[in-house]
């Protein structure tokens, strides 16, 4: 058994025994199945049904990518602010 194998065994053990068991599969409020089904079912269908015809006028792919970055950035920004606020609240 080589040194590399020993290192790999250690890394594998950390992943399998320490990290993977504590990572959750589902969020408390919305399970993965609900989340995936909601996305691939109603949201995707409604978006495509509502906007597919506009692809003649707008580059919808670009539009949705930019919208997604804006939404993601805003959510991240407000999550960070909320976290800082909670930290200040707890510290007093």
């Amino acid at each position: 058994m080589s040194i590399a194998d020993i290192v790999l065994s250690l890394v594998i053990w950390i992943f399998q025994k320490l990290i993977l068991p504590i990572l959750p599969t589902n969020l408390p409020l919305i399970s993965y199945d609900t989340f995936a089904t909601f996305l691939t079912g109603s949201v995707q269908h409604n978006l495509i049904y509502a906007f597919a015809g506009l692809n003649n006028l707008f580059n919808l792919e670009l539009l949705f990518i930019l919208l997604a970055t804006m939404i993601f950035a805003e959510i991240l920004f407000w999550l960070v602010r909320a976290g800082i606020f909670m930290a200040k609240l707890i510290r007093g």
């Binding site: 194998d5 599969t25 993965y32 015809g53 003649n56 792919e61 970055t69 920004f77």
Partner: protein, 447 residues
């Protein structure tokens, strides 16, 4: 105070209601008959038909061995003369007759509809074998009127023959519908001067070995005659199936009542048919099946395919063969192999690491991120297709005509379509708006 007018109303209203009730009871008698007569022979005595219920002539018998419904039908054996019956004289009507041809085989026979002056239209079956007969109609419109072969009908089963006659302008026309396959194009009847039909004759040729039953106007809405059901409710109540199909004769299409579809019994077999195996022996005989108990008792299930674990796409390089070398070169080669052996990971360990990393795909947040990634890629793929824009103006629905998108122009020496030009222009606007947002977002961090 009771007024005189009120008293009059109290007397007149009951009288009116009684009158309407009498009219309602007698209403069926005021309806003009729309068929010559109806007969299912159920009240007949077994034996000779002639003489019973106004039937005359011929050598047909009322029997019970082969019936469409009930216990009575009419059998045509050896020819003597046609049997017939006179009914209502009408100029527009419909009649249905059920025919059963023996496998003996049957001998040819005819049915014709007549009035007191002459026959009007004829149908016959001829050239019979044990399996089928040829069905003909008489075409009086031809320069030389003749029997026209229409279809081949099987022996051993009941067939429905519907005929209708009607007046269009100055013409007296007829048509027939064999086994619900659609109405023949209308033909002129034989005698245009007298536009009525009042009687039916059966068996005007050398007949034999066939049965007749259920002479009626309308076919009953029931299993076996589902096409006679006119609406969804009666179709469902009869146990039939309400389906979408095309009427081949007219080219029209729509919903109609049809015989219910019966699925064949499933048989134990391979893969998806494993569930129909009810014993371990039959289950194990099938390919891809296993006899297991998942908590519901021993049942036959389809074998769960074993997916091989994902492997790392890395192969350990082979060590150099030092046997051919000698001296210092051999010594250096062996040192190199030794160091490589120490620090080289094995493929098995790398495969285990690969599988461990793959397990992260099923854990938060990686599974949610994968779902989002798949969602966006599906959106991207679907939205890249150009779909029609539906519009509705004053109740008329249509789609926007985008053909003008393909008009081209020269921009910078390149030919561009109007669509590309407009989409580029809108893309610039979208990017500009996003850029404005980006600046305002960054400014929040540097107030």
């Amino acid at each position: 105070m009771i007024t005189t007018l009120f008293k009059e109303k109290c007397v007149k209203m009951p009288i009116l209601l009684i009158f309407l009730g009498i009219v309602g009871l007698l209403y069926p008698f005021f309806i003009l008959a729309s068929t010559i007569f109806e007969d299912n022979f159920e009240n007949y005595e077994y034996g000779t038909l002639s003489g019973q219920y106004s039937w005359y002539g011929g050598n047909a018998d009322v029997v019970s061995d082969e019936t469409k419904t009930g216990t009575h039908a009419v059998y045509f054996g050896t020819y003597v003369s046609p049997v017939g019956k006179i009914g209502n004289e009408i100029n527009e009507g419909l009649q249905t007759v059920w025919l059963f041809l023996d496998t003996t085989p049957a001998v040819d026979g005819t049915i014709d509809w007549e009035n007191s002056v002459s026959w009007q239209f004829y149908l016959k079956w001829d050239d019979c074998s044990a399996d089928d007969c040829k069905f003909y109609y008489y075409n009086s419109e031809l320069e030389t009127p003749a029997w026209i072969e229409f279809a081949t009908i099987d022996t051993g089963i009941w067939h429905s023959i519907q005929v209708k006659w009607y007046i269009v302008g100055s013409q007296f026309l007829w048509s027939f519908n064999l086994d619900f396959n659609g109405w023949l194009d209308e033909l002129e009847t034989q005698t245009q001067a007298v536009k009525t039909v009042d009687r039916i004759h059966i068996g005007a040729q050398d007949y034999g070995n066939y049965w007749i039953d259920n002479i009626s106007e309308f076919l009953p809405c029931e299993l076996g005659t589902c096409s006679a059901c006119s609406d969804y409710n009666t179709c469902m109540e009869a146990g039939c199936s309400w389906e979408w199909f095309i009427y081949e004769e007219s080219g029209l299409f729509g919903y109609g009542c049809a015989e219910p579809i019966t699925m064949g019994e499933e048989i134990c077999g391979d893969f998806i048919k494993c569930q129909y195996c009810d014993s371990e022996v039959s289950c194990n005989a099938g390919i891809g099946c296993e006899w297991k108990n998942y908590g519901y008792g021993n049942k036959c299930y389809m074998l769960v395919p074993i997916v091989p674990p994902e492997q790392a796409g890395w192969e350990a390089p082979e060590l150099e063969d030092c046997g051919a070398l000698s001296g210092v070169e051999k010594w250096l080669c062996e040192i190199k192999n030794f160091i490589a052996g120490i620090f080289m990971p094995s493929k098995e360990k790398l495969d285990i690491l690969q599988q461990t990393l793959n397990n992260f795909k099923f854990k938060f947040p990686f599974n949610y991120l994968n779902a989002l990634q798949g969602f966006f890629s599906d959106i991207k793929t679907s939205l890249s297709e150009e779909k029609a824009i539906p519009i509705k103006i004053l109740g008329n629905e249509a789609t926007v005509d985008m053909s003008f998108w393909d008009f081209t122009t020269i921009i910078g020496g390149e030919s561009e379509t109007f669509k590309n030009v407009l989409k580029d222009f809108t893309s610039i606007i979208i990017l500009f708006c996003w850029f404005v947002w980006l600046i305002s977002f960054i400014k929040r961090f540097f107030p």
